[in-house]
Symmetry: C2
Subunit: 572 residues, 2 copies
Amino acid sequence: MRISKLVGERLKDSASTANVKSHNYLLRAGYLKQVCNGIFSMLTPAQRINLKIQNIIREEMDAVGGQEVLFPVVMPRELWEKSGRYFSIGQEMVRFKDRNDHDMLLGMTHEEAAVHLCQNTIKSYDQLPFMIYQIQTKFRDEARPRAGLIRVKEFTMKDAYSFHYDKEELQEFYKKVYDSYNKIFKRIGMKNFIAVKSDSGMMGGDIAHEFMLLTDIGEDSIVICPHCDYKANMEVAISKEIKPQFENTEKKEVYTANAKTIEEVCKLLNISAIQTIKAVCYAIVGDDTNTVIAFIRGDKEVNEAKLKKIIGKDIAVKDLSDTGLVKGNIGCLNLNLPNTTVVFDKSLEDMQGMATGANKEGYHIKGVNLKRDLENVEFVDIAKVKEGELCPVCGKPLTIKRGIEIGNIFQLGTKYTKSMDMTINMPDGTLINPLMACYGIGVGRALASVAEESSDEKGLVWPMSIAPWQIYFCPLRMDDNSVKEKAEELEKSLSNNFELLYDDRNVSAGIKLTDSELMGIPLRVVISPRSLSNNEAEITIRKSGEKIMCKLDNLNELLKNLINKEMEELNG
Amino acid sequence: MRISKLVGERLKDSASTANVKSHNYLLRAGYLKQVCNGIFSMLTPAQRINLKIQNIIREEMDAVGGQEVLFPVVMPRELWEKSGRYFSIGQEMVRFKDRNDHDMLLGMTHEEAAVHLCQNTIKSYDQLPFMIYQIQTKFRDEARPRAGLIRVKEFTMKDAYSFHYDKEELQEFYKKVYDSYNKIFKRIGMKNFIAVKSDSGMMGGDIAHEFMLLTDIGEDSIVICPHCDYKANMEVAISKEIKPQFENTEKKEVYTANAKTIEEVCKLLNISAIQTIKAVCYAIVGDDTNTVIAFIRGDKEVNEAKLKKIIGKDIAVKDLSDTGLVKGNIGCLNLNLPNTTVVFDKSLEDMQGMATGANKEGYHIKGVNLKRDLENVEFVDIAKVKEGELCPVCGKPLTIKRGIEIGNIFQLGTKYTKSMDMTINMPDGTLINPLMACYGIGVGRALASVAEESSDEKGLVWPMSIAPWQIYFCPLRMDDNSVKEKAEELEKSLSNNFELLYDDRNVSAGIKLTDSELMGIPLRVVISPRSLSNNEAEITIRKSGEKIMCKLDNLNELLKNLINKEMEELNG
């Protein structure tokens, strides 16, 4: 490819819309163009990376027996009504009416389509397990697209669906795909990634893992034990309970005047936050009449993902006017309000000598013993883990890092096969709904995540396995006829063996070298009047900055070795 | 791939929804599953073909310098308002509102996106010509999906867009892509296809060609001269004018009673249809107040595609009530109605002694001389060519065949670059709007077209270049241990060298052989207790039915030769 014909330009200045490094470089280096908020066109260098990532994913999916299929992007309402998701998914799913006034939707994920494809054609347990997958465009009407390709509305995704006749067989297969995900991310050149336990969210099911690239620009918080193997998304992370024992006293109403916050109440009563009961109020989205009050120990925060899962509905912070609740004095005793759901966090179980609001202006109650003073309370885990709390597995202090979700895998159980009535024959003649698991990787997000991790102050640094081209061939002084002639000759021989981006422009050395670094092509080959006088070319390895002078006769051989070496490291 | 794990079943019976051969076989052989009218899921065999077709297209697009990009499926209204197509395209384009109440659409084609991507990044004539292309999902809300993948709502398409600084340079590039289209269709195994001149329809522009697979199930009529090179879609086809000269007489109103049709009037006046002037009335879609009257010689039919292009708007057959027109007596003289557009076909130019309606109940006018009796009439071509009319190039009789459009290429001119204000610098410093051309191929339609052309009474017959697998490995009597052992051994060695579908089922020879024929895999390798006793396998070539007995030691070599031979023919 000649750079003079390559569509897309290299820009000196930061794009004003880009607030993360990868997005900035991808725009500046001519990889992307924004069409509107969260929707991009991909230029040739980006599309070449997309195809390479897709092929690596395809190879690894095929290696575990995956069968590539293609589901439609547009699906009829009926298919999604069976699973219930036509109604349960919110505005992020696009719905429209076709020319015959029929309700249609743009698929965000394809569990329903997968069951539709397999039911009635897979009939017997001995056809299981199997996995089908597709690589296809998806559209999610994200409320807040951000960071370029990290969170977009339209994206290419690999989504896979496996079917199983029992839990053990599912686990075994799930583990295989888990391993193949590790291989995929390693092969596309990601370094600092981990798999963590996660929430299954709108997919349903129990066990789920996310693959996370650890980076400060990540949206997710990940709880990691540096001492053992424990890793979990904050949404589902737990820590080891430590419960101080306070003196068991009579409960007693005390005047606390304007003390409203935990801090103010603690100061007044001369206790620490751990001896208080905090109330956090939520509304149920789409239902104005109800209030959810979460009680949690004053030193802890509510994990809304956990609470949402327990409530089974979307929640949002509640405006307390017209609820009868006294802001800053809400407590767990004498709370007799209609239409209120009360949830108690595990941190409060067995606690005594605690302070809570008195549900009247200016008063709190001291000496609350939750076992003694409350009846029929179930304590559930709705707490957020904090840095330094203790690992639930090994008991040592936990750390919290930020990450980008680069892949996810879910054990779905029978949610879809049951609701859509897919059955298979078991050896004993009974009919069962098969178990399912699903597995996703966003191709564009993978591209952007690698760009984020593998870049430096000069620009992008693509791993050899997914680089748009392997070599940036960069003759300097194209106005010199001897350089131009040699360049055209070398271009021909090199492009027979390598993927070559040929900088055929007659511009300054500065522009050419800067562009090659910004674009992040792994190897740069420079020839100039001076190097040619020694019959040499200069090879620069983008990743390390290392420079190698090489006789032209050995150029092919040396480039081949450098490429093979990096590919072996990535595939190893 | 083991057939016991392959998702999708082979069916004995015709699917009731399938009314063409290819669709029937694709459903029966486990290639497709319908999700709803015009929307399909593709199973693994079909998706493997899709990917092979895509790769052939990609290779040929790259060979003429194409740069692969990826445009979004979902685009904002603003982009399509600039070109005017947000309003000019009808119900076939899906429009919806996003969560912020913003108008969005599903792209049916990507001229606007292509200009958006290139403008401001391509600035100078010396960057031209170039071509960008994508392979992407498209959705068109077709009123009448039909014939399986031949006409669907959702499909994968390769669409390419080239940019040019003058007409000559455009023509040169257009010819290159024209040639590459011929290569693509040949390589994917189409035989009986031709390129014909066509209408540019909603794309705008002048010169356009369609690539047509000739087949009786085709929706298009194609006018072909068997004697010279003339080929054109009926929509734009012309024939050589032959004008009989009738006697020039005075015009005279005659009583024709209830004679309304051309046939009745001819019988009454004792003339032939060629001596009459036929009136055909149309409404303009979306505009109830206007009427279009097309006058054409009585022996000819109106070509609505041509008429539509002249009117510049969609037309439909008109209901004549409340128009003031007298049905069966409409004529071209004394026709003074408001809101009426009148169009005269070329066939009437210079005609004399003609009969026309008198615009009053029961009367016609004889002896009309169009030059003498009408003023300021422009005659334009709105006639349909009929079988046997004479070729406009060589003058010999034309034939009419039916075809499926498998690809199309358009010279668009500056329609999009002008409306979207894309400019480039010319050497003399002037700014111009570059010329564009666009080039489409539907991947699924190509698959179905090959299936339609390459199939026989037993099932599908895939060309080697796009076959889902090269070899159907078919051991008979899998209950025989010696067969099973040998089969597993051969499967290993064969799948190292070939794409193998392994029929590992323990079912009857009849089922296995029938399935292999239905699925259309090019080569079948059968082993059985008898063949193994001679240390042989039987190879059957699906296309010819030819059978070859082959020693197991030579199997690899012979299969390689057979595959290479067919691939050379296809790529030749």
